[in-house]
């Protein structure tokens, strides 16, 4: 029978304390608080996001994937604000005492994510309660004082950019939850793997932080669907966005699916979990922004522009406004 942990102290000392070794202010997780300070002239940027089994990941997902996603969705927020990751607090709720093997793999996944995102565990809280396994992370980043890139700030005339590609995670989730979904479709195994990977392993665009601070007037990460999140940016900015479906950056795998079922562009635009960055950039900065992004290794696509008004308009290939059944994901 699989061995389960028997105390909170065992979880912390054996699995979590090594993850905090790089941060002196974490005090080896021997204390119940951590102490940090941003470098002089810098702000600390704070964010929190939770992931729960059955909602943000599938029960039975590999613990390393769960760990990666729990941290990535928070770091994605920091990156979109122009902040460099520093450290995080993690609150875990287990429905039953976890197995050692599960914790081992979970801690390894966190260690890999920490290294990829340059962030360190500072502290946390672990308890047992009914309900789905839940991981709530509060993540902290730094940037020069007063320089956080806001949702608010887009102005008419600004160009809208999107990093990476849109819709992969939503298509990947369909693939995961309905094994028959691919039947009869001509999607190569490599494409399938790409979509699954994108659903399981969001890649926060941390390399774009400095470019965003230098050139973006407004930015946010796309987590609940491109159209919905763009709508939030427009509401905060008091502006309207016009984007073109034909200009959406799509992966070869998504293109292969859309070639057979063009209407699935709506799933890509509203499906969520992209963890890409949406940025509004003044026209005169559009060139430098795109060049610096590419130089940072982050592909960006110009998907539309900001105009006077409110809301979001998506134009189809013929230049007509698309009618979308929904804008994105809402928990309520």
């Amino acid at each position: 029978m699989a061995r389960r942990v028997t105390s909170e102290a065992e979880i912390i000392e054996r699995y979590f304390a090594p993850l905090a070794a790089g941060l002196p202010g974490a005090f080896g997780l021997l204390d119940d608080c951590a102490a940090i300070h941003p470098p002089p002239g810098h702000d600390l940027v704070l964010t929190t996001d939770a992931v729960a089994a059955g909602v943000h990941f599938l029960p039975g997902d590999h613990p390393a994937d769960v760990a990666w996603k729990a941290l990535a969705v928070n770091v994605s927020d920091l990156a979109a604000k122009g902040a460099h990751p520093l450290c995080y607090l993690m609150s875990c709720a287990f429905p039953e005492a976890p197995e050692h093997a599960w914790l081992q793999a979970f801690a390894e996944g966190l260690a890999a994510a920490q290294e990829a995102f340059a962030i360190t565990l500072a502290g946390g809280d672990t308890d047992r309660r009914p309900g789905p396994l839940s991981i709530t992370i509060a993540a902290f980043g730094t940037l020069p004082t007063g320089c956080m890139v806001r949702r608010q700030g887009a102005r008419p005339g600004d160009r809208l950019f999107l990093t990476g590609s849109v819709g992969d995670a939503a298509l990947g989730l369909m693939l995961r939850t309905d094994p028959n979904w691919l039947a009869g479709r001509a999607l190569a195994p490599e494409g399938q793997r790409h979509l699954l990977w994108r659903a399981l392993r969001p890649q926060p665009r941390t390399a774009l932080a400095d470019v965003l601070r230098a050139h973006a007037r407004a930015a946010m990460d796309v987590s609940d669907g491109l159209v919905k999140d763009l709508g939030r940016m427009m509401r905060a900015s008091g502006t309207r966005a016009v984007i073109e479906a034909a200009r959406m950056p799509l992966s070869p795998a998504a293109r292969a699916i859309l070639a057979e079922e063009p209407w699935r562009i709506a799933d890509c635009l509203t499906g969520g979990e992209d963890y890409e960055i949406l940025a509004a950039v003044a026209p005169e900065n559009a060139g430098p922004f795109a060049s610096l992004a590419v130089a940072s290794g982050i592909p960006v696509a110009a998907i539309g522009e900001i105009v006077e008004g409110g809301g979001v308009c998506v134009l189809d290939g013929s230049g007509h406004p698309m009618q979308l059944e929904r804008e994105g994901y809402d928990h309520f």
Copy 2:
């Protein structure tokens, strides 16, 4: 029928944004991150603790009590480290869309707690998932750089102090969960109200923060039971504690119960949820510490001292070590 909210935006704009009005870096909760910085020469102290229905509060508890407790248990951690509360992130998981009336009362409870603890909402995350209603807070405080009072640091010869009184919350919980528990006991209604209040409304000892930084070698808040938490401090410090049951600070209500059932002292020593502060103070500072605490309006009692060795020894009224069935609360 009671009206329920229909979107996350509604919850944030209507109920939570007003709680963030006092913090410019919360950006009115229009963004997905907040930006803050500690004053020059100060550290930021970070902590996180979650409360869930059926574990940390009872399902059906008044939403204002739930709000108060969720914030208080975090602020208690900050106070014990010598930090002044600054702001917090709050992640709420609702099993179903909450009713407007519930949210209204919850927000009012948070507002009252914010005012009592001098802390402001900075941001958060709200979603819907199966399982108990859960509130996970990450709280942030400030103190002069490098001055966080640690668990580690107690030395042989130090005096051990405890604020307030011990055991009230544990007795209050018995009263709440077993209505027949009081039958035949001579506890006045005023005493009953006191115990219930202590279980529902922890009072973080924020007024003690400066005194702790000035005079305590080690400190922590007591949340999982005095004996268990003291054991943690001793493990971190590499020392042994000897405390005397007869010196425990007890409320009149607890004294009335113990007069009839003296063995219930064990419930007081291990019951948890006291949210009092335990401090180890060098003998030469014991006088000033006690005077300054009283001047700050916080009663403190000398409950024992630190010696060489490890672990915790509780002496009964005859000076013999007590055998306790358990040390405190563990989630696993």
